[in-house]
Symmetry: C2
Amino acid sequence: MRIPNHIGIIPDGNRRWAENQGLTKEKGYDLGLDPGMDMFRICKELGVKEITYYGFTVDNTKRPTVQRLAFTNACIKAVQMLAKEDAALLVLGNSDSPMFPKELLPFRERKTFGKGSIKVNFLVNYGWQWDLAKLNEETNNSKLNCYKYINSNDISRIDLIIRWGGRRRLSGFLPVQSVYADFFVVDEYWPDFKEQHVHDALKWYSEQDITLGG
Amino acid sequence: MRIPNHIGIIPDGNRRWAENQGLTKEKGYDLGLDPGMDMFRICKELGVKEITYYGFTVDNTKRPTVQRLAFTNACIKAVQMLAKEDAALLVLGNSDSPMFPKELLPFRERKTFGKGSIKVNFLVNYGWQWDLAKLNEETNNSKLNCYKYINSNDISRIDLIIRWGGRRRLSGFLPVQSVYADFFVVDEYWPDFKEQHVHDALKWYSEQDITLGG
């Protein structure tokens, strides 16, 4: 089976999961922590070289405060959990804004934990417009290497994106790195994560041709 | 039923269709012309305000010459056919390159045919890197309106992308306009286009919530 170098993870459906359980929406986020760690371990064991979690976005911060605090806290906990693993960890997003939690400021530079065997990127207060804003005059060249000039330049091209929660869209997830990515949707909500979802995604991915737009 | 304002059309699978018919790959492109016109008429009747066809890309021009000439000719014919309809037509792509057919140079500025009732964008020798290359220093602002500074600034945000041919990826299609687009995949190849595919896509689309990343 061909294993993707880089998997993007869109862990959607936490609020819908909570509502289905008769809970208020913000209660869904903490239930996403264990799936996140499961996903990390599965990818590491399979030999995936890099993973990117879609934590929360600038758009998301416009939600009600109780939700914003809940997903922000869940992201802080997730990063702290990942920092106990064997990973080269980066938190990326607009840290000039008060929406970027101060607990995560030390992770804005990639830090090695353990042997740093897998690159782990965690997007926090990420915005696709913020990401592209750094493209500047030097880039006025149609053959440019866009990767060099964007704010997410330490995140490489994505091979496979797995989105939980049934939505079939990117929702602003890393537009440059995602241009050639294969996109697999799991209908179950993220808190209902099962290892089988990842195997289904990888089986499907390994049947796709890789053309990079060619 | 909620009708999307803007539909992106990725008409993939022409070469696989030709091979399945025992033809050489380049024979598949001309069979895509009638589906393209069907799609135009269906969208116009439904009241869609704008459609964008993914003609060919800078990446595609690296294919064997016989294929390149075939898809280039099919795109020229398609634009000439659309120019006989009631549409505001724009051909967009890197026209500084010899890969941009000279027959389509007059369409680089949007032209009104009939009453111009629907905006029709046709991407020819389009490259996502070329598209983003115009973002410049003025844009060094995380709240920028990216749309203003990209080469495809006359093409608006896409609500629904329909891709024929089973691949679940954007393949470099308008990364900025596609950030929030819902993505519907038809397994059949483009030459096997049926009106029902569009109705299936629209039915699915009208069941999706619209959050624009919120």
